[in-house]
Point group: C2
Chain length 481, copies 2
């Protein structure tokens, strides 16, 4: 197999993996910096020294370039760019979505990308605008699919299969299933840039999760055009493995400064909130007035972008991706909407999530809807119960009956599970209402799945009313201590 | 005045300022790296090139050093450390809290610190352990106060006045008031290291806010021993201006890696989630096996620490300190407890907060308790109302009566305020229950302060039940559109 994807570790629907592209290897999640041959402030060679294993450039620019075409056709794209890692080439589909048409056919771009020895070839798919109605989305998807079939003929090994379908989840899922059947094992999710530009992160989550539901878990997934570091964690949590970023350069040209929590306009800044070389060695004033400002900003933007990919990898390794997603998504209220949308998919994603994690940190109400809580409460039905059981919210109690302790937001647990994940590794602040409510849902799940057992609850005084309200079918005793 | 503190901008109870120490100037908030003369992996000269304007070292180490004492007495501390910025010297009080006693008197340390030309002199105060009962705390505080009076005699200009009082807020406040009366204008808050080590951030907030309530707003406040970047934003929001950090070096010695969201053990890491020079140019494996690991880690730790100070400064400049505090404090559930404790002081801090900010981003339920919400709802009483008023949760309505629109968590607003802060600059996700509840509190405030006006509410269908419950005294109409 030309593309081979090995999953080394997982977290939520995200994966830490090793992607083989022919003889070359890329660690995932990975960020492919976009190289524009007309404007290379940071060379591919410099990128390699920063750990970049793959990059992306646009075949269409070369195809149309009087200056570069001949040279790149003769010497190949790796020699031309002076980069021996993985090079992916885009087809011009993005230009088509911006300008309405391109002067290249699907066949032409596929053959041209082959000729210049691209490692990863993208067909000329049709990026459906989020404004398109369903009929248009279907018609365009059908054209994309015929081009993908063409790609399987012309470049069967190296060609990837982009998933389109506009903003219609069922179309995205069907497209993904069809593409999978054509034999593609590398699938970009396309036409999401406008959603990200318009901060429609809730729609983004619906579209990506739908596409993922149609793809095999062994398929490597590239989120096309996702270049702002603030959304890498969210995208990886949904199951995306690769990104491409022109943002580091485009933002720099616009005198904008990237961070993992959003962007600033350079001219409105007073201090650089970053530890990179550029930021520690230059004052804001120096960069503002430097003739080299664009290159300095590009460098900073690339450093922070690569650091964020490392941050996501580190989080998956430890099993703390939910914590990272929570952190990044609170950076903007629209991202918070996206995060809350992702949490509403927890039930789906629970089966993909790993069994044990370094820790579970409660970070606010949203943590109640995490996969670990759903899994924990789902497994309460498997516990063996006696005829009488006491659920104690006040710690150990003296009783002849079987005792369950209580840890919100999970719910009741037998003392012998107190050291196992998630009970033992979860850290929570002082109880809050939402957390205790969610824990009561765990009590209800235990009661519901054990109709032969008679339950009594012992509650702390301050939570008594809530518990009585949330678990109305059971006697609740109040601990006055 | 030897110490002169100018506040340039403020946010919550935090300040961006300029501290004059004699002829020298320090921008605040500032981090004073701790220099240990026995172990300088990063020299003061290198620190200066990274923008460090002030540092701290321990006079007690020099006083007891056969190796250094003579030299530093002769040439002065600035020459000895090769640093011409501000140098603060600690007295040995910290050693006393660790080892129970020190071989130096208050008079001796004050005179020694003068002799070596320290810019900022710390008396030998008594750091009361958080475990001490009230009687002990009072007795120790009284000894501290007598030493501070001695300091006013011996080193009236350069000596600072540490605030003690154990974990008793009323003692801290009284201590602060007394110290203020002695004429100190530079006050460290002492003996908080054990609280931070034990993750008792809620207690930390109570103690610091109590001390701040006893101090003049023009006093510069140093939080002694606060060196982990994760808590700078919280500490600044409470009103602290200066920190000192040995953490960058101590953590490195222990092979620990600092981030603005917590720490990692180097040996458990796989990727460096950071953009600094060390992290972009070395793999984790290289650092793990390097003979130079301690220096590399120290450098990274210092870079990230200084970046966090820059991040706090940038946030105050824009008026986004609440967003930063929210971000950092969700890193650990105990910090979340501290954050929630700080929010419970919003009513106190509201009067200190600035009038207008770059934006208000809703980041979760906690945002409902921010100073801006309290201020907004407090000012609803000043609006001029007619006899009949309609509060519309559904946008513009056609009615002959005075109309208020509604934006949670703030509440009702007249259309002419739609562009002003906070209504115009606040960004919220899709409405959630807590946010709408808080907005209803705004409706109640408006109604309560305008008993002559008759109100009608028009609610969206999905929020009708909640609004009826929260504002029971008013007719609520349901918009079915």
């Amino acid at each position: 197999m030309y593309f081979a994807f090995e999953v080394l570790e997982k977290d939520i629907a995200g994966r830490l993996g090793r992607l083989k592209v022919g003889e070359k290897t890329v660690r995932t999640p990975a960020l492919l910096p976009v190289i524009n041959p007309n404007l290379t402030l940071i060379t591919p060679r410099e990128m390699k020294s920063l750990g970049v294993e793959a990059l992306i450039t646009n075949a269409y620019i070369f195809f149309n370039s009087a200056k570069f075409r001949k040279q790149v056709e003769q010497e190949g794209i790796h020699h031309f760019l002076d980069f021996d890692g993985v090079i992916m080439t885009d087809s011009g589909a993005f230009q088509q979505s911006i300008y309405g048409k391109v002067e290249i056919s699907n066949q032409e771009t596929l053959k041209f990308q082959q000729q210049i020895s691209s490692d990863i070839i993208v067909p000329l798919d049709i990026p459906t605008s989020p404004g398109a109605d369903r009929e248009t989305a279907e018609r365009e998807l059908s054209l994309t699919m015929s081009r993908l079939r063409e790609a399987r003929d012309i470049a069967p090994e190296r060609s990837v299969g982009p998933v389109q379908g506009g903003i219609f989840p069922e179309l995205r899922k069907k497209a993904a299933e069809d593409i999978q059947r054509l034999g593609f094992s590398f699938c970009p999710i396309g036409a999401v840039v406008p959603l990200m530009e318009q901060y429609r992160f809730r729609d983004l989550v619906q579209v990506v999760r739908a596409a993922k539901n149609g793809l095999s878990p062994s398929t490597v997934v590239h989120l096309f055009g996702a270049g702002h570091p603030v959304m890498f964690a969210l995208a990886v949590a949904m199951g995306c493995d690769l990104f491409d970023s022109a943002a580091y350069a485009l933002f720099a040209r616009d005198r904008r400064y990237l961070t993992s929590h959003g962007s600033y306009r350079l001219d409105e800044m007073t201090d650089f909130p970053c530890s990179c070389e550029v930021c520690r060695k230059h004052s804001v004033q120096e960069v503002k007035t430097s003739l080299d400002a664009e290159r300095l900003l590009s460098s900073h933007n690339l450093f922070i972008t690569l650091a964020e990919i490392a941050c996501v990898r580190q989080a998956i390794q430890r099993g703390t991706l939910w914590e990272l997603v929570d952190d990044r998504c609170r950076s903007h209220p629209r991202l918070l909407d996206g995060y809350r949308a992702l949490l509403s998919h927890s039930k789906d994603m629970e089966s993909m999530d790993r069994v044990s994690k370094d820790h579970f940190f409660y970070r606010g109400d949203e943590s109640c809807a995490r996969t670990e809580v759903i899994r924990y409460q789902g497994r309460l039905s498997t516990l063996a119960l006696e005829e009488e059981a006491v659920i104690s919210l006040v710690g150990g109690v003296s009783t002849p009956y079987q005792v369950f302790l209580f840890k919100p937001p999970f719910g009741p647990f037998p003392p012998e599970l107190s050291e196992t994940f998630p009970i033992g590794q979860s850290v929570i602040p002082s109880w809050d209402e939402k957390m205790v409510k969610r824990g009561c849902a765990g009590i209800r799940a235990l009661i519901h799945s054990h109709p032969q057992t008679h339950f009594t609850i012992i509650s702390r005084k301050d939570w008594y009313d809530l518990v009585v309200r949330e678990v109305p079918q059971v006697e609740v005793m109040c601990d006055l201590g």
